[in-house]
Symmetry: C2
Subunit: 209 residues, 2 copies
DNA sequence: ACGATAATTAGATAAGCATCAAATTAGAAG
DNA sequence: CTTCTAATTTGATGCTTATCTAATTATCGT
């Protein structure tokens, strides 16, 4: 008896998922139909005027929100409503303290920041100044700028010489003002430039000693 | 005293809007904060770590769903929660008959179909075979195909001669297989082609007499 | 009239997602 | 094993929207 039990994750996360699950007219209609009696996928598709893949998709969303149960019977799958869960969740929507404690949805496009070998304070700099992989603004404060420049420098392999165009191409993926970034990298001696030829390479040992 | 009253629109429409309004963690947090006491925009922005425009946007969404009230006091605007409306809507979520009766959200990108001077049956052909302005498939059934071809023919001004490229360009806005459409238009004598030079023009009087 | 402050609107960007057609899986029944 | 059928998965497309910055509106105090 593989019965559903509340997921391990905390309830607050679930609450947003619950409302997202109901924030679609097709899914609301499915809830309505399942509330009257269990249905299989084909019946629902028929009643809703949608294709089976679409209904399948909606049922998967509802299942993630623990709102429907699934019972297999031969090749057909019979879905039924978890009225108890529905009522529970609706009750939670009136717990204002809980709502106020909700955590902003972590932005998946910022997840890479967690993989950086940095202090939490430095990671905050990234979260503040980046939108996904793009730098929103170049920080004015030198300490914050340096956090980002050091990370940028690591995009250049040690011992490799880059043409100015290559350097620009790499920097452009982060911010349109690649010239400014390049200049700052050189000024802070994270990148070195050969006098005449326009070749750049990464300075491996930061000369802060 | 401009007090809120239930909108004129039917409740079903409102129900989906209600869940959409709550299907966002920022708005759920706003509900939580307003549930404890009224707040102005700046306070909310502060508490949520969002900019004021963003909070303003969320409050507008909540207002459309009749979930918050607004009171102006000097230049600041004080928002408060409509707990009664919140409770009412939550109760509706358990009325399965009502949910099942919900109408699929009318697709705004299909609204142009209503402006066509056609029978309702013909309009249904458009709704079935179009996604927005793009034809999903070319209908197999001749009667349905003709409905669409007649409409297509009207995109060509009477008395004007079009090069094949011009014809293709017009048809391509509707379906990638412009060649098929062009051939069908000619076969059904909605478009005529000059024998050698590749010039096309619209046949004004359909020769069905 | 003039800043200064609070809020909204406009515009841009990027993520999310509803939907469909086509391809795939999996059970049932010959 | 093969074939049929129910359902899911995959991949693509286009709409919606959350968020930001910049610009605008509105109200107060001087």
């Amino acid at each position: 008896m593989s019965e559903v039990t509340p997921p391990g994750s905390a309830m607050p996360v679930v609450l947003e998922g619950f409302f997202k699950a109901l924030a679609d007219s097709s899914r609301l209609r499915i809830i309505g139909l399942l509330g009257m009696r269990p249905h299989n996928v084909g019946e629902l598709a028929q009643a809703l005027g949608l294709t089976e893949p679409t209904v399948s998709h909606h049922l998967a969303r509802l299942r993630e929100a623990w709102l429907v149960n699934l019972r297999a019977e031969g090749t057909t799958r019979i879905y039924s409503l978890r009225v108890d869960m529905l009522e529970t969740m609706l009750r939670h929507a009136l717990d204002f303290e809980e709502l106020a404690r909700l955590t902003p949805t972590p932005r998946p496009d910022m997840a890479w920041v967690n993989d950086l070998a940095l202090s939490e304070a430095d990671r905050k700099v990234f979260r503040d100044y980046f939108n996904g992989r793009r730098l929103k603004h170049i920080p004015t404060k030198q300490s914050k700028l340096l956090v980002i420049l050091r990370w940028l420098a690591e995009k250049f392999a040690p011992g490799v010489q880059y043409t100015e165009q290559e350097v620009n191409a790499i920097l452009k993926t982060v911010h349109p003002d690649y010239a400014r970034l390049r200049r700052e990298l050189v000024d802070f001696r994270l990148l070195a430039r050969e006098g005449g030829g326009g070749l750049y390479w990464r300075v491996v040992e930061p000369p802060d000693a």
